[in-house]
Protein backbone atom coordinates (compact mmCIF):
# COMPACT_ATOMS: atom_id res chain seq x y z
CA UNK A 1 0.00 0.00 0.00
CA UNK A 2 1.38 3.35 -1.06
CA UNK A 3 1.87 5.95 1.57
CA UNK A 4 0.59 9.49 0.87
CA UNK A 5 3.26 12.22 0.65
CA UNK A 6 3.21 14.43 3.73
CA UNK A 7 1.89 17.95 3.13
CA UNK A 8 5.18 19.57 4.13
CA UNK A 9 7.03 17.68 1.39
CA UNK A 10 4.75 19.31 -1.18
CA UNK A 11 5.34 22.72 0.41
CA UNK A 12 9.09 22.21 0.26
CA UNK A 13 8.89 21.21 -3.39
CA UNK A 14 6.88 24.32 -4.22
CA UNK A 15 9.29 26.55 -2.29
CA UNK A 16 12.21 24.86 -4.00
CA UNK A 17 10.76 25.47 -7.47
CA UNK A 18 9.96 29.09 -6.59
CA UNK A 19 13.45 29.63 -5.24
CA UNK A 20 15.03 28.16 -8.38
CA UNK A 21 12.86 30.44 -10.50
CA UNK A 22 13.91 33.46 -8.45
CA UNK A 23 17.55 32.45 -8.75
CA UNK A 24 17.23 32.04 -12.49
CA UNK A 25 15.70 35.47 -12.81
CA UNK A 26 18.42 37.04 -10.71
CA UNK A 27 21.21 35.32 -12.58
CA UNK A 28 19.71 36.24 -15.96
CA UNK A 29 20.20 39.87 -15.06
CA UNK A 30 16.70 40.85 -16.05
CA UNK A 31 16.12 43.96 -14.02
CA UNK A 32 12.48 44.16 -14.97
CA UNK A 33 11.59 41.18 -12.82
CA UNK A 34 14.03 41.42 -9.98
CA UNK A 35 12.25 40.56 -6.74
CA UNK A 36 13.70 43.66 -5.11
CA UNK A 37 14.23 47.27 -6.00
CA UNK A 38 17.62 47.73 -7.65
CA UNK A 39 19.82 50.05 -5.67
CA UNK A 40 19.55 53.68 -6.60
CA UNK A 41 22.51 55.17 -8.41
CA UNK A 42 23.15 58.74 -9.29
CA UNK A 43 23.27 58.77 -13.10
CA UNK A 44 26.68 59.58 -14.43
CA UNK A 45 27.18 62.92 -16.15
CA UNK A 46 30.26 64.01 -18.04
CA UNK A 47 31.85 67.25 -17.02
CA UNK A 48 31.38 69.46 -20.06
CA UNK A 49 34.65 71.06 -21.11
CA UNK A 50 35.33 73.05 -24.27
CA UNK A 51 32.66 73.48 -26.87
CA UNK A 52 33.41 74.84 -30.33
CA UNK A 53 31.88 75.08 -33.77
CA UNK A 54 33.18 74.60 -37.28
CA UNK A 55 30.94 76.41 -39.70
CA UNK A 56 31.05 75.73 -43.42
CA UNK A 57 30.31 79.41 -43.83
CA UNK A 58 32.73 81.90 -42.46
CA UNK A 59 30.33 83.33 -39.92
CA UNK A 60 30.11 81.32 -36.73
CA UNK A 61 26.51 80.56 -35.82
CA UNK A 62 24.96 79.52 -32.56
CA UNK A 63 24.52 75.80 -32.01
CA UNK A 64 22.00 76.13 -29.21
CA UNK A 65 21.86 73.19 -26.84
CA UNK A 66 23.71 70.73 -29.06
CA UNK A 67 26.63 70.38 -26.63
CA UNK A 68 24.20 69.64 -23.79
CA UNK A 69 22.40 67.06 -25.92
CA UNK A 70 25.72 65.42 -26.78
CA UNK A 71 26.62 65.47 -23.10
CA UNK A 72 23.34 63.74 -22.21
CA UNK A 73 23.73 61.03 -24.84
CA UNK A 74 27.34 60.22 -24.03
CA UNK A 75 26.75 60.41 -20.27
CA UNK A 76 23.85 57.95 -20.49
CA UNK A 77 25.93 55.73 -22.75
CA UNK A 78 28.85 55.68 -20.34
CA UNK A 79 26.50 55.08 -17.46
CA UNK A 80 25.43 51.87 -19.18
CA UNK A 81 28.87 50.89 -20.43
CA UNK A 82 30.78 51.44 -17.20
CA UNK A 83 28.59 52.13 -14.20
CA UNK A 84 25.76 49.69 -14.57
CA UNK A 85 26.68 46.59 -12.53
CA UNK A 86 25.53 44.39 -15.41
CA UNK A 87 28.41 45.81 -17.43
CA UNK A 88 30.83 44.71 -14.71
CA UNK A 89 29.62 41.14 -14.66
CA UNK A 90 28.29 40.14 -18.07
CA UNK A 91 27.61 42.85 -20.66
CA UNK A 92 26.27 46.37 -20.86
CA UNK A 93 22.48 46.59 -20.56
CA UNK A 94 20.74 46.35 -23.90
CA UNK A 95 19.28 49.86 -23.68
CA UNK A 96 22.79 51.29 -24.00
CA UNK A 97 22.46 50.69 -27.75
CA UNK A 98 19.52 53.06 -27.92
CA UNK A 99 22.13 55.84 -27.98
CA UNK A 100 23.39 54.75 -31.40
CA UNK A 101 21.99 55.48 -34.85
CA UNK A 102 20.43 52.60 -36.72
CA UNK A 103 23.50 52.39 -38.96
CA UNK A 104 25.90 52.27 -36.02
CA UNK A 105 23.84 50.01 -33.77
CA UNK A 106 24.85 46.63 -35.27
CA UNK A 107 28.54 47.51 -35.02
CA UNK A 108 28.05 48.79 -31.49
CA UNK A 109 26.24 45.61 -30.44
CA UNK A 110 28.92 43.47 -32.03
CA UNK A 111 31.63 45.40 -30.20
CA UNK A 112 29.59 45.95 -27.08
CA UNK A 113 32.14 44.83 -24.57
CA UNK A 114 35.11 46.56 -26.17
CA UNK A 115 33.11 49.80 -26.27
CA UNK A 116 32.93 49.47 -22.51
CA UNK A 117 35.04 47.42 -20.15
CA UNK A 118 36.31 45.00 -22.77
CA UNK A 119 38.29 42.12 -21.35
CA UNK A 120 37.68 43.41 -17.83
CA UNK A 121 34.05 42.38 -18.07
CA UNK A 122 33.37 39.74 -15.48
CA UNK A 123 36.26 40.76 -13.28
CA UNK A 124 34.95 43.97 -11.73
CA UNK A 125 33.39 44.09 -8.30
CA UNK A 126 32.90 47.83 -7.98
CA UNK A 127 33.75 50.86 -10.05
CA UNK A 128 33.90 54.55 -9.25
CA UNK A 129 34.48 57.48 -11.57
CA UNK A 130 37.50 59.58 -10.64
CA UNK A 131 37.25 62.22 -13.34
CA UNK A 132 35.63 62.86 -16.67
CA UNK A 133 35.68 65.48 -19.35
CA UNK A 134 33.80 65.97 -22.57
CA UNK A 135 34.78 68.44 -25.28
CA UNK A 136 32.26 68.96 -28.05
CA UNK A 137 32.85 70.30 -31.54
CA UNK A 138 29.86 70.93 -33.77
CA UNK A 139 29.86 71.04 -37.57
CA UNK A 140 27.41 73.58 -38.93
CA UNK A 141 26.25 73.42 -42.54
CA UNK A 142 26.06 76.48 -44.83
CA UNK A 143 22.41 76.99 -43.89
CA UNK A 144 23.40 77.27 -40.24
CA UNK A 145 22.12 73.86 -39.15
CA UNK A 146 24.26 71.68 -36.89
CA UNK A 147 25.03 68.64 -39.07
CA UNK A 148 27.28 66.59 -36.92
CA UNK A 149 29.14 66.73 -33.65
CA UNK A 150 32.30 65.17 -32.36
CA UNK A 151 32.54 64.33 -28.68
CA UNK A 152 36.02 63.96 -27.20
CA UNK A 153 35.88 61.95 -24.04
CA UNK A 154 38.31 61.48 -21.21
CA UNK A 155 37.10 59.16 -18.51
CA UNK A 156 39.05 57.86 -15.55
CA UNK A 157 37.65 55.32 -13.13
CA UNK A 158 38.98 53.20 -10.32
CA UNK A 159 37.72 49.68 -10.02
CA UNK A 160 38.10 46.87 -7.57
CA UNK A 161 38.37 43.48 -9.12
CA UNK A 162 36.93 40.29 -7.76
CA UNK A 163 40.46 39.16 -6.99
CA UNK A 164 41.02 42.17 -4.76
CA UNK A 165 43.18 44.29 -7.04
CA UNK A 166 42.59 47.95 -7.57
CA UNK A 167 42.90 49.14 -11.14
CA UNK A 168 42.61 52.45 -12.86
CA UNK A 169 40.80 52.53 -16.18
CA UNK A 170 41.54 55.46 -18.45
CA UNK A 171 39.42 55.80 -21.54
CA UNK A 172 40.07 58.33 -24.30
CA UNK A 173 37.65 58.27 -27.18
CA UNK A 174 36.11 60.32 -29.92
CA UNK A 175 32.50 59.86 -30.92
CA UNK A 176 30.71 61.12 -33.97
CA UNK A 177 27.13 62.15 -33.27
CA UNK A 178 24.28 63.06 -35.58
CA UNK A 179 20.88 64.54 -35.04
CA UNK A 180 18.19 61.91 -35.61
CA UNK A 181 14.70 63.33 -35.22
CA UNK A 182 15.83 65.80 -32.62
CA UNK A 183 18.02 63.42 -30.62
CA UNK A 184 21.79 63.39 -30.93
CA UNK A 185 22.87 59.80 -31.36
CA UNK A 186 26.25 58.16 -31.74
CA UNK A 187 26.82 57.64 -35.47
CA UNK A 188 30.42 56.53 -35.27
CA UNK A 189 33.20 55.66 -32.87
CA UNK A 190 36.39 56.18 -34.85
CA UNK A 191 38.82 56.21 -31.98
CA UNK A 192 38.77 54.47 -28.63
CA UNK A 193 41.78 53.85 -26.46
CA UNK A 194 41.67 52.29 -23.04
CA UNK A 195 44.55 52.04 -20.63
CA UNK A 196 44.36 49.87 -17.56
CA UNK A 197 46.93 50.19 -14.85
CA UNK A 198 47.12 48.40 -11.61
CA UNK A 199 47.33 50.48 -8.49
CA UNK A 200 49.50 49.22 -5.69
CA UNK A 201 48.00 49.76 -2.28
CA UNK A 202 50.57 50.73 0.33
CA UNK A 203 50.06 51.06 4.02
CA UNK A 204 50.11 54.64 5.23
CA UNK A 205 52.90 54.99 7.77
CA UNK A 206 51.44 56.28 11.01
CA UNK A 207 52.27 59.94 11.37
CA UNK A 208 54.28 59.84 8.20
CA UNK A 209 53.85 62.18 5.28
CA UNK A 210 53.07 59.35 2.90
CA UNK A 211 53.79 59.61 -0.78
CA UNK A 212 57.06 57.79 -0.37
CA UNK A 213 56.37 55.89 -3.52
CA UNK A 214 56.84 52.60 -1.77
CA UNK A 215 56.00 49.76 -4.06
CA UNK A 216 55.56 47.15 -1.43
CA UNK A 217 52.85 44.67 -2.02
CA UNK A 218 53.31 44.58 -5.72
CA UNK A 219 50.16 43.79 -7.56
CA UNK A 220 50.05 40.35 -8.95
Amino acid sequence: MRRRRPWWAIVIAVVLIAAIAVLALILSGNRQVLPFEPPKRVPFTFKLGNTSTVSLKLKSPSVGDVPLSVQKTLSDMYDGLFLDPHAWSTAPPSDVYDHFTEAAKPAAQQDGTSLGLGSLTGTIKTLKVDSSNLDVRVLVDPAGHPTSAMGLVQFVATAQTKTGSTIRITRKAQYLLENVNGTWLVAGFPKTTTTVDRIVMSPVPTGGSGGSGSQSGSGS
Binding site: A9, I12, V42, A103, K128, L139, T166, K191, S202
Partner: protein
Protein backbone atom coordinates in the same frame (compact mmCIF):
# COMPACT_ATOMS: atom_id res chain seq x y z
CA UNK B 1 15.60 18.13 7.26
CA UNK B 2 12.83 20.15 5.66
CA UNK B 3 13.43 23.08 7.93
CA UNK B 4 17.10 22.94 7.09
CA UNK B 5 16.31 23.03 3.35
CA UNK B 6 14.08 26.05 3.69
CA UNK B 7 16.65 27.81 5.85
CA UNK B 8 19.33 27.05 3.29
CA UNK B 9 17.20 28.52 0.49
CA UNK B 10 16.42 31.60 2.46
CA UNK B 11 20.09 32.06 3.14
CA UNK B 12 21.03 31.62 -0.51
CA UNK B 13 18.39 33.99 -1.78
CA UNK B 14 19.10 36.47 0.96
CA UNK B 15 22.81 36.34 0.26
CA UNK B 16 22.21 36.93 -3.42
CA UNK B 17 20.03 39.91 -2.67
CA UNK B 18 22.76 41.35 -0.50
CA UNK B 19 25.44 40.68 -3.09
CA UNK B 20 23.40 42.38 -5.79
CA UNK B 21 22.59 45.30 -3.56
CA UNK B 22 26.29 45.74 -2.88
CA UNK B 23 27.43 45.43 -6.45
CA UNK B 24 24.71 47.82 -7.49
CA UNK B 25 26.36 50.72 -5.81
CA UNK B 26 28.81 52.30 -8.17
CA UNK B 27 29.87 54.80 -5.64
CA UNK B 28 32.26 53.16 -3.25
CA UNK B 29 35.00 50.75 -4.13
CA UNK B 30 36.59 52.05 -0.90
CA UNK B 31 40.03 50.64 -0.35
CA UNK B 32 40.87 49.54 3.14
CA UNK B 33 41.06 52.63 5.37
CA UNK B 34 44.64 52.00 6.29
CA UNK B 35 45.77 51.81 2.70
CA UNK B 36 46.43 54.53 0.21
CA UNK B 37 46.76 54.23 -3.55
CA UNK B 38 50.31 54.79 -4.65
CA UNK B 39 49.26 54.88 -8.28
CA UNK B 40 52.15 52.85 -9.43
CA UNK B 41 51.35 51.52 -12.84
CA UNK B 42 52.74 48.03 -12.71
CA UNK B 43 50.64 46.84 -15.56
CA UNK B 44 49.68 49.13 -18.37
CA UNK B 45 47.46 47.62 -20.94
CA UNK B 46 46.53 49.93 -23.77
CA UNK B 47 43.61 48.53 -25.65
CA UNK B 48 42.47 49.68 -29.02
CA UNK B 49 38.72 49.62 -28.86
CA UNK B 50 36.10 49.08 -31.47
CA UNK B 51 35.81 51.44 -34.38
CA UNK B 52 32.96 52.30 -36.68
CA UNK B 53 32.47 55.13 -39.12
CA UNK B 54 29.31 55.48 -41.17
CA UNK B 55 29.69 55.41 -44.93
CA UNK B 56 27.49 56.05 -47.92
CA UNK B 57 25.49 52.99 -48.91
CA UNK B 58 24.19 52.25 -52.37
CA UNK B 59 23.48 49.52 -54.87
CA UNK B 60 25.14 51.30 -57.75
CA UNK B 61 28.48 53.03 -58.00
CA UNK B 62 28.83 56.73 -57.28
CA UNK B 63 30.53 59.01 -59.78
CA UNK B 64 32.04 62.40 -59.04
CA UNK B 65 33.60 64.58 -61.72
CA UNK B 66 36.54 66.51 -60.29
CA UNK B 67 37.70 69.53 -62.25
CA UNK B 68 40.67 71.80 -61.82
CA UNK B 69 40.06 75.19 -63.37
CA UNK B 70 42.98 77.20 -64.66
CA UNK B 71 41.32 80.35 -63.35
CA UNK B 72 43.78 82.74 -61.76
CA UNK B 73 42.89 84.83 -58.72
CA UNK B 74 40.14 87.25 -59.71
CA UNK B 75 38.90 85.06 -62.56
CA UNK B 76 35.66 83.07 -62.43
CA UNK B 77 36.48 79.53 -61.39
CA UNK B 78 33.84 78.09 -63.73
CA UNK B 79 34.42 80.46 -66.63
CA UNK B 80 37.96 79.45 -67.55
CA UNK B 81 39.25 76.20 -69.04
CA UNK B 82 39.57 72.97 -67.11
CA UNK B 83 43.21 72.02 -66.64
CA UNK B 84 42.39 68.78 -64.95
CA UNK B 85 39.43 66.46 -65.53
CA UNK B 86 38.94 63.26 -63.57
CA UNK B 87 36.04 60.91 -63.01
CA UNK B 88 36.14 59.28 -59.61
CA UNK B 89 34.07 56.13 -59.44
CA UNK B 90 33.37 54.59 -56.04
CA UNK B 91 31.90 51.16 -55.55
CA UNK B 92 30.02 51.63 -52.29
CA UNK B 93 29.75 47.90 -51.64
CA UNK B 94 33.37 46.92 -52.12
CA UNK B 95 34.81 50.30 -51.12
CA UNK B 96 37.05 50.22 -54.14
CA UNK B 97 37.45 53.18 -56.43
CA UNK B 98 38.99 54.32 -59.68
CA UNK B 99 40.31 57.70 -60.72
CA UNK B 100 40.04 58.03 -64.48
CA UNK B 101 41.84 61.00 -65.95
CA UNK B 102 40.75 62.59 -69.19
CA UNK B 103 43.53 64.71 -70.71
CA UNK B 104 42.45 68.30 -70.99
CA UNK B 105 43.37 68.46 -74.69
CA UNK B 106 41.18 65.47 -75.58
CA UNK B 107 39.46 66.19 -78.88
CA UNK B 108 35.80 65.37 -78.22
CA UNK B 109 32.28 66.42 -79.16
CA UNK B 110 30.93 69.08 -76.82
CA UNK B 111 27.11 69.04 -76.78
CA UNK B 112 25.87 72.09 -78.69
CA UNK B 113 29.37 73.33 -79.42
CA UNK B 114 30.77 71.05 -82.10
CA UNK B 115 34.07 69.26 -81.51
CA UNK B 116 36.78 70.87 -79.46
CA UNK B 117 39.32 70.25 -76.72
CA UNK B 118 37.40 68.98 -73.74
CA UNK B 119 38.77 71.75 -71.52
CA UNK B 120 36.84 74.31 -73.58
CA UNK B 121 33.58 72.87 -72.29
CA UNK B 122 34.09 74.63 -68.97
CA UNK B 123 34.62 78.07 -70.47
CA UNK B 124 31.82 77.44 -73.00
CA UNK B 125 29.12 76.43 -70.56
CA UNK B 126 30.43 76.02 -67.03
CA UNK B 127 30.75 72.76 -65.09
CA UNK B 128 27.33 71.51 -66.17
CA UNK B 129 28.45 71.51 -69.81
CA UNK B 130 31.62 69.68 -68.84
CA UNK B 131 29.45 67.14 -67.02
CA UNK B 132 27.31 66.70 -70.14
CA UNK B 133 30.41 66.38 -72.31
CA UNK B 134 31.92 63.70 -70.08
CA UNK B 135 28.61 61.86 -69.87
CA UNK B 136 28.28 61.91 -73.67
CA UNK B 137 31.86 60.72 -74.05
CA UNK B 138 31.77 57.90 -71.52
CA UNK B 139 28.12 56.97 -71.04
CA UNK B 140 28.69 57.31 -67.29
CA UNK B 141 26.12 59.28 -65.32
CA UNK B 142 27.88 61.85 -63.18
CA UNK B 143 26.23 62.23 -59.76
CA UNK B 144 28.13 65.30 -58.61
CA UNK B 145 30.83 67.61 -59.76
CA UNK B 146 33.40 69.52 -57.77
CA UNK B 147 35.65 72.19 -59.20
CA UNK B 148 38.61 73.93 -57.68
CA UNK B 149 41.24 76.45 -58.71
CA UNK B 150 44.99 76.90 -58.33
CA UNK B 151 44.45 78.72 -55.05
CA UNK B 152 41.85 76.20 -53.94
CA UNK B 153 44.18 73.25 -54.49
CA UNK B 154 46.99 75.05 -52.68
CA UNK B 155 44.77 75.82 -49.70
CA UNK B 156 43.38 72.31 -49.44
CA UNK B 157 46.80 70.67 -49.53
CA UNK B 158 48.04 73.11 -46.90
CA UNK B 159 45.05 72.34 -44.70
CA UNK B 160 46.04 68.68 -44.79
CA UNK B 161 49.51 69.63 -43.62
CA UNK B 162 51.06 68.85 -47.00
CA UNK B 163 51.20 65.57 -48.88
CA UNK B 164 53.87 62.99 -49.59
CA UNK B 165 54.27 62.60 -53.34
CA UNK B 166 56.37 60.08 -55.20
CA UNK B 167 58.09 61.71 -58.16
CA UNK B 168 59.03 59.06 -60.70
CA UNK B 169 61.10 61.12 -63.12
CA UNK B 170 62.91 64.45 -63.06
CA UNK B 171 60.57 67.43 -63.13
CA UNK B 172 62.29 70.71 -63.87
CA UNK B 173 59.86 72.99 -65.64
CA UNK B 174 60.03 76.75 -65.89
CA UNK B 175 56.32 77.09 -66.75
CA UNK B 176 54.86 75.30 -63.75
CA UNK B 177 58.01 75.96 -61.69
CA UNK B 178 58.11 72.30 -60.77
CA UNK B 179 61.59 71.43 -59.57
CA UNK B 180 61.72 67.91 -58.26
CA UNK B 181 64.18 65.09 -58.51
CA UNK B 182 62.88 61.53 -58.47
CA UNK B 183 61.99 60.31 -55.00
CA UNK B 184 59.36 60.94 -52.38
CA UNK B 185 58.79 64.60 -51.56
CA UNK B 186 56.74 66.17 -48.82
CA UNK B 187 54.98 68.94 -50.72
CA UNK B 188 53.13 71.94 -49.43
CA UNK B 189 50.23 73.39 -51.37
CA UNK B 190 52.37 75.49 -53.70
CA UNK B 191 54.66 72.58 -54.53
CA UNK B 192 51.73 70.24 -55.04
CA UNK B 193 50.26 72.70 -57.51
CA UNK B 194 53.55 72.88 -59.39
CA UNK B 195 53.69 69.09 -59.48
CA UNK B 196 50.11 68.89 -60.75
CA UNK B 197 50.63 71.49 -63.47
CA UNK B 198 53.86 70.26 -65.00
CA UNK B 199 53.48 68.66 -68.43
CA UNK B 200 56.66 69.85 -70.11
CA UNK B 201 58.87 67.43 -68.19
CA UNK B 202 57.33 64.41 -69.89
CA UNK B 203 57.39 63.02 -73.39
CA UNK B 204 53.74 62.12 -73.10
CA UNK B 205 52.99 65.61 -71.74
CA UNK B 206 49.33 65.89 -70.87
CA UNK B 207 48.85 62.14 -70.37
CA UNK B 208 51.50 61.89 -67.67
CA UNK B 209 50.29 65.12 -66.11
CA UNK B 210 46.79 63.70 -65.86
CA UNK B 211 48.15 60.57 -64.19
CA UNK B 212 50.19 62.72 -61.79
CA UNK B 213 47.06 64.66 -60.88
CA UNK B 214 45.35 61.38 -60.02
CA UNK B 215 48.38 60.34 -57.99
CA UNK B 216 48.20 63.62 -56.10
CA UNK B 217 44.55 62.89 -55.25
CA UNK B 218 45.60 59.50 -53.90
CA UNK B 219 48.37 61.08 -51.85
CA UNK B 220 45.83 63.54 -50.49
CA UNK B 221 43.51 60.64 -49.64
CA UNK B 222 46.32 58.94 -47.73
CA UNK B 223 47.07 62.09 -45.78
CA UNK B 224 43.41 62.76 -45.12
CA UNK B 225 43.00 59.24 -43.74
CA UNK B 226 46.10 59.50 -41.59
CA UNK B 227 44.87 62.78 -40.15
CA UNK B 228 41.42 61.35 -39.52
CA UNK B 229 42.47 58.13 -37.82
CA UNK B 230 45.13 59.92 -35.77
CA UNK B 231 42.66 62.51 -34.59
CA UNK B 232 39.13 62.21 -35.97
CA UNK B 233 38.13 65.68 -34.85
CA UNK B 234 40.31 67.09 -37.64
CA UNK B 235 37.63 65.93 -40.06
CA UNK B 236 35.54 69.02 -39.52
CA UNK B 237 38.42 71.40 -40.25
CA UNK B 238 39.29 69.51 -43.41
CA UNK B 239 35.66 69.61 -44.51
CA UNK B 240 35.57 73.33 -43.99
CA UNK B 241 38.72 73.80 -46.04
CA UNK B 242 37.33 71.68 -48.87
CA UNK B 243 33.97 73.42 -48.78
CA UNK B 244 35.52 76.86 -48.95
CA UNK B 245 37.85 75.91 -51.79
CA UNK B 246 35.53 74.14 -54.19
CA UNK B 247 32.39 74.87 -56.08
CA UNK B 248 30.20 71.81 -56.16
CA UNK B 249 26.80 70.33 -56.78
CA UNK B 250 27.31 68.24 -53.64
CA UNK B 251 25.10 69.28 -50.74
CA UNK B 252 27.08 69.77 -47.54
CA UNK B 253 25.59 66.69 -45.80
CA UNK B 254 26.54 64.53 -48.81
CA UNK B 255 30.03 65.96 -48.81
CA UNK B 256 30.24 65.08 -45.13
CA UNK B 257 29.08 61.51 -45.82
CA UNK B 258 31.44 61.24 -48.76
CA UNK B 259 34.32 62.32 -46.53
CA UNK B 260 33.40 59.65 -44.00
CA UNK B 261 33.24 57.13 -46.84
CA UNK B 262 36.67 58.26 -48.00
CA UNK B 263 38.10 57.33 -44.62
CA UNK B 264 37.33 53.72 -45.47
CA UNK B 265 38.59 53.43 -49.03
CA UNK B 266 42.16 52.18 -48.90
CA UNK B 267 44.44 54.04 -51.30
CA UNK B 268 45.70 50.62 -52.41
CA UNK B 269 42.14 49.85 -53.51
CA UNK B 270 42.02 52.89 -55.77
CA UNK B 271 43.15 52.49 -59.35
CA UNK B 272 44.62 55.60 -60.97
CA UNK B 273 44.30 55.57 -64.76
CA UNK B 274 44.27 57.87 -67.72
CA UNK B 275 42.14 57.08 -70.76
CA UNK B 276 44.26 55.44 -73.46
CA UNK B 277 45.08 58.13 -75.98
CA UNK B 278 47.69 59.48 -78.36
CA UNK B 279 48.80 63.01 -79.04
CA UNK B 280 48.37 64.48 -82.52
CA UNK B 281 47.44 67.56 -84.47
CA UNK B 282 44.04 68.90 -85.36
CA UNK B 283 44.72 71.68 -87.84
CA UNK B 284 47.32 73.82 -86.13
CA UNK B 285 46.40 72.62 -82.65
CA UNK B 286 48.16 69.97 -80.63
CA UNK B 287 45.44 67.69 -79.28
CA UNK B 288 44.88 64.30 -77.68
CA UNK B 289 42.93 61.62 -79.50
CA UNK B 290 41.21 59.18 -77.18
CA UNK B 291 41.72 55.58 -78.28
CA UNK B 292 38.57 53.60 -79.18
CA UNK B 293 39.66 51.00 -76.62
CA UNK B 294 38.62 53.49 -73.95
CA UNK B 295 34.99 52.50 -74.54
CA UNK B 296 35.54 49.16 -72.83
CA UNK B 297 36.97 50.96 -69.80
CA UNK B 298 34.01 53.32 -69.64
CA UNK B 299 31.63 50.35 -69.76
CA UNK B 300 33.47 48.55 -66.97
CA UNK B 301 33.60 51.68 -64.84
CA UNK B 302 29.94 52.42 -65.44
CA UNK B 303 29.01 48.93 -64.30
CA UNK B 304 31.22 48.57 -61.24
CA UNK B 305 32.58 52.02 -60.49
CA UNK B 306 36.05 50.67 -60.90
CA UNK B 307 38.45 49.56 -63.61
CA UNK B 308 40.73 46.64 -62.93
CA UNK B 309 44.31 46.62 -64.15
CA UNK B 310 46.52 49.60 -64.80
Amino acid sequence: MAAASVAFLVLVVGALVVVRAKTGTAESPTPAPSMTPVATPLTIEPVQGATFVPALQGKRPLFVLVLGSDARPGQGIDKERADSIHIIGINLKTRRATILGIPRDSWVPIPGHGTDKINASLSDGGPLLTVKTVEALTGIHIDFYAITSFVGLTNMVNSLGGVNVKVTQPMHDQYSRANFDPGTHHMNGKEALEFARDRHSFLSGDLTRSKNQGALMLDALSKFQKNFWDNPIRLFGTLKSVWLNIRTSLAAPILYRLALTATQVKPSDVNNLVVPATTGMQGAESVVFIDPSAKALYAQMKRTGTISGS
